[in-house]
Structure formats: structure tokens, C-alpha cells
Amino acid sequence: MATKTNLQAVRDTLMEIMERDPSVVVMGEDVGPRGGVFRATQGLYEKFGPERVIDTPLAELSIVAVGLGMALNGYRPICEIQFADFIFPAFNQIVNEVARYRYRSNGAWTVPMIIRAPYGGGVSGGLYHSQSVEAFFTHVPGLYVLAPSTPKDIVGLLRSAAQAPDPVLFFEHKRLYGLVKGEVPDEYYEIPIGEGDIKRAGDDITVVSYGMTLHEAIKAADKLAETDGIQAEVIDLRTLFPPDLDLIYESVRKTGKVLIVHEDNLTGGWGAEIAARIAEDMFEWLDAPVMRLAGPDVPAVPYAPPFEKWFLPLADKIEAKMRELAEY
């Protein structure tokens, strides 16, 4: 078993995928000799050369569109959007093109590609280097949307994504790149898309999360167990679309209480859909209203350190919300 950071997990798995599948190309801004601004593609250029590790013009729309075209003609592109905040120039290509090719051609034309994007706050990135953009894409039929947040999950899901016959958006929380370390099994494994994971078992309340707030929720749960003796079950969605409702419902049947936590702002966040599903399908099992804790409805994470702290749903806030739910 090797211990890796999230960043190493991304990098090593990209290396492995490119070694195994010669149709894979990596393309994006600064992904070549520089190895990416976060070094997620470090070493790929040296190993696979400029034809498979392509430094693109600074133009997100065409990073995605050119990738789409390559996917039609024998390649499996892994496109990097340098920061998720800058994915919007490519929004039309992703939503109207990448996601719709299969459906609109009745299955004749398909787009096997991955779009990777580092997202999230906690890095003093201000409004434009901190955004969580996943809810724009979970809304769009035709895209798999993944957001793993441990090295093991990143490896397993990236391996699956690299075999998918359809487009995958792969969100990597940038604050967690170096912060999270974990064990990665030596033997080969894959994690199916659509499978959540119980990161901490408990019987009293259910907490559903992903990304940085997942780790914060685990911290909060440990603390709450210690201070109040409340045992929270913490579920990591890992895949946002399709969300593992089966796993959530199983937990809710046990706890009757559920809190959804994400960093993306509250209104119209992915938690809203999860909450609606639980309310519709699990009404009889609930002993409390479905609760949500999310970033406030301001345009992304403001820069000054106290602002950032105010914005992010960190462990102390999650702990308070968990207590509120448990006591309901």
C-alpha cells in the first residue's frame, strides 16, 4: 500500500492511463513542460511528448471543442480546464455539444472524453480561483459528474472515467491536492461511477457530502461523537451524477435524519436535488426536515482571510448543524 496525496493520485493515474491506452491525449493550458499549474500533469510531457501532451492556446471553448473532435476520430482526450472558474467559455460546448452528441444523433456519434477541472476554495483564490461549479453540470443530462476527494477514490474513479463511452467531468478540489494523504492499494482496482461510500459509520444522523466539506464533516463527526456521544454516518457521494441515492436511503432508514453539506452556494446547489429526492422518496422514514449546510449565496468565495473563513462550511459550522439536527 502506497501513501499518496490527492495530487499524486491524479498524476500517477494519468501516467498509468496514458501508458495503458495509446489513444489517450492530455490537453490544456500549461500541461506540457510546465506540468500544469498544480503539477497534476508533471512528467507526462517528458514521457509521452508533444503529440500526446498538448499545450493548447489559452481558449477553453476550443480546448473542449477540439478535444470533442479528437474523440470523434480515434482519441480519448483528457482536457484540463486550469481552474473550474474558467470553464464558462466552454459551457456551450460542454452543454450543447459534448453532452448532447449521443442523444441528438441517436447513438451514432459519441464523445468519450474527460474534462478535468480543479475547483473549490480555501486557497485565498478569491472570486475567480475558488468556485464550485458542479451544479451547472449535474443539471445536464449526458454528463457523468465526479468529485472524488481521497487518493484512493481519485485513482479508482479516474480509471473508470478513462473507459467510459460518454463524457465525464472530473472535479478535483484544489485545496485538497496537497492536504489530503491516504493509502492507495497496490493491486489494480476500479471504482464504479455512481457508487457512494460510507466514510464514517454511525447510527444517529446521516451526513451527505463531497469535496473539502466531506473531510470537514468527518472531523466534525469525530468531535461530536467525543463531546455529545452522537454518531454520525458520513457518506461521500464521490459521484455527483448519478448520485448514489440507494446508499443515502439505506442510511436514512437507519437514522431518520439527514444533513447535506457542500461548499457550492446553497440555492440551486446539488444538495437541493438530493434533498428533494429524499423528501419525495423517504418521507415516512424522516424524523426531521432534511437539512442543508452550504456556502452562502454570494458570488463565490471572497478573498480576505476572514471572508474566506466566513464563506466555507468548515468543521465548526458543520458540527453545530449536526447537533441541531440530532436534537431536532
Binding site: 449521443r102 442523444y103 448519478p242 446508499l247
Partner: protein, 348 residues
């Protein structure tokens, strides 16, 4: 080289009688099919149609300049003639017009003229204009990287060249020189907006200079002139000599689509003036001068075309619609590494 010699080396000089008449056939077939689609719309049988009328010269030219089934086409939505040449049948066009079962473009999901036919490498068309241009660059780059000798032809109107997608596509093309030909059908209007309000340069082809690629202007109503330009552009691309932006200057003598009324934005005189330069009229004149066409032969072609059109219409009108359940299918493909949660009613 003398002017005479130059003229003699035109690619169209190598076309034999049969090929020249075949081109004529496709022009007429496309036109008559198109006219019938308008009628079906006016009869309330077809919800929508967007037309290629008046644009047949460049469309037939590009179809004949391409290697059928080998080269790729990202069509302009007006490219009915090109698609017919590359292998789409009139029946298939009509099925798509009506959204019937057997519509090979999308099985009734997309509006008409959103072509897609994989056996002919005709890539699925969407409605947001110009999205196809950078995608076409990607296909061409992939061909280049794999050392294939395929060429990619991508079509669009002049209005859409204001979109950023166009400029990003040309930028990539200028950097990597993949085997691609950009074909602009400049019919001078984007719905109602005249080209003068669309761009600050005189010609779409002028825009090529900014990206260090070839820009060529051609009379888009002159079939053989278009053919010469297209063959040269396609074969240059195939030889690795880089991309070309072709601008075919033409005119749309009909409204933008069946949903448009063009009387509000241009004069009838202007339209009538252009009808005198109808590409089919011009080509008929040429063929007659060369002794390849006379009234009798014309009538024969028309009769054959109308049989095909009638057959297609009759066939399509009598086909069923796809089952409604099919509209919920095919959002994702089968994949062994996805676990669809049972509680998540897939596609419902």
C-alpha cells in the same frame, strides 16, 4: 504561364461529361426536394424547414471535391445538396423533415436539416451556430496525428463568423495546419442582419490573414468556379499544405427559414436581381453552350428528379413516428463501470 494554360489546368477541366451531368442532376434534385419541403410546410405537414435554395453551386462543388465516405463533413444546415451527394437519400431527408421513424439523423429528436450520417462521416449538426468549427479542427488534428489522408470540410454562414468559436478554430488551424477546409456560404444575411453590420472587413476570407492561413473568395453561384476552388483547397489540405478558408459569395433568394418573412428587411427588387444569377440557371447555360444539355435532356432530368422527390414524400408521409418511449432512451451508452442507483429513475 499564359492565361490560356492557366485556364486549361483548372480541376474542372478534368471532369467528364457524365460527371458534369451528375453535378447538374444533384443541383436539380436538391432544389426540387427543397421546394417540396417548403410546400409540405405550407400545407401544415412539416413543422419546419431551413433551405439550401440558391446555395447549390458551392454545396455540389464541395460534395464532388470530397472523397465520399473518406473525408469528413461538418455541414452547414443548408447543405442538403452536399449530403445527398455524400450518400443521404431523399427518403432520409424527408423522414428527418417530418421527424419520422427511420430518420437517420436523430430519430426524430432534432429539427430538420440537422444532418448526421456516420457511414458518410457527416457529423451531427446542432443549432447553436459555429460550434462545429473548433470540433472540425479536432477531427482534422486527429487525422494529422494519425497520419491519415482524410480531409475535414466544415461549413457555416457568414453571420456565424462573428462567433468566438470561429476565431478560436482558425487560431488552432493556423498553429497546427491540420487538413481542414473552412467553407463559408456568404449569402449576405444572418436572418435579417446584413453582412455590413456583421463585420468590419469586406470579405470573410480576409479574416484568414489574421490566422496566417489561406483565404479564397469565389463566386458562390458559379458551380465550376466553386469546384476548382474546393478541389484545390481539399487537395492542398490532403497534401499537408495547410487549411484554407473558402468564402463563396452567394445569396438566399428565399426567407431564412419557413418561420421567416424576408419582406421586412430587403426589397423585392434585390431578390429578383439575384434570381437572375440563380446557380442552376448559370450552370444550365454553361452546359447548353457546351452542347451537353438541351431542352429535351433538361425535361428528362426533371422527370427523373420529380420521381425521386415524389417517392420520398410519399414514403415519408406514410411512415410512423418513433415510439414515444424512445425519446427517453440513449442519453448514456452501456458501460460496465457505472452503477445506476435503483432509486434514481434513469432518464425518467
Amino acid at each position: 504561364m499564359s492565361v490560356q494554360e492557366k485556364v486549361m489546368t483548372r480541376p474542372s477541366d478534368r471532369l467528364n461529361e457524365e460527371q458534369l451531368l451528375q453535378m447538374y442532376y444533384y443541383m436539380v434534385l436538391s432544389r426540387k426536394l427543397d421546394e417540396r419541403m417548403w410546400i409540405l410546410n405550407r400545407q401544415g405537414k412539416a413543422p419546419f424547414h431551413i433551405s439550401g435554395i440558391g446555395h447549390e453551386a458551392i454545396q455540389v462543388a464541395q460534395g464532388f471535391a470530397m472523397r465520399k465516405g473518406h473525408d469528413w463533413l461538418f455541414p452547414h444546415y443548408r447543405d442538403i445538396a452536399t449530403c445527398l451527394i455524400l450518400g443521404v437519400t431523399p427518403r432520409q431527408m424527408l423522414l428527418a423533415l417530418l421527424g419520422k421513424e427511420g430518420d437517420v439523423f436523430s430519430r426524430g429528436r432534432q429539427m430538420p436539416e440537422h444532418f448526421s450520417y456516420k457511414p458518410s462521416k457527416i457529423v451531427t449538426v446542432s443549432s447553436p451556430v459555429m460550434t462545429q468549427a473548433p470540433q472540425a479542427v479536432g477531427v482534422a488534428l486527429a487525422s494529422q496525428l494519425q497520419g491519415k489522408d482524410e480531409v475535414v470540410v466544415v461549413g457555416f454562414g457568414e453571420g456565424a463568423t462573428s462567433e468566438g468559436d470561429f476565431h478560436e478554430a482558425l487560431n488552432w488551424a493556423g498553429i497546427y495546419h491540420p487538413p481542414i477546409v473552412f467553407v463559408c456560404q456568404n449569402n449576405q444575411y444572418a436572418i435579417s442582419v446584413h453582412v455590413k453590420k456583421q463585420m468590419p472587413v469586406e470579405n470573410v476570407a480576409d479574416r484568414a490573414a489574421a490566422y496566417n492561413i489561406r483565404g479564397v473568395i469565389v463566386d458562390g453561384n458559379d458551380l465550376l468556379a466553386c469546384y476548382d476552388v474546393m478541389v484545390e483547397a481539399v487537395e492542398r489540405a490532403r497534401r499537408g499544405e495547410g487549411p484554407t478558408l473558402v468564402e463563396a459569395k452567394t445569396y438566399r433568394p428565399v426567407p431564412h427559414s419557413t418561420a421567416d418573412d424576408d419582406r421586412s428587411y430587403r426589397s423585392r427588387e434585390e431578390v429578383e436581381q439575384w434570381k437572375k444569377r440563380d446557380p442552376i440557371l448559370l450552370y444550365e447555360k454553361y452546359l447548353m453552350e457546351r452542347g451537353l444539355l438541351d431542352e429535351e435532356k433538361k425535361a428528362e432530368v426533371l422527370k427523373q428528379v420529380m420521381q425521386e422527390v415524389d417517392d420520398a414524400v410519399d414514403f415519408a408521409l406514410h411512415q410512423p413516428y418513433p415510439p414515444v418511449e424512445s425519446a427517453a432512451e440513449g442519453v448514456f451508452g452501456d458501460f460496465h463501470l457505472v452503477k445506476w442507483p435503483k432509486a434514481f429513475k434513469r432518464n425518467a
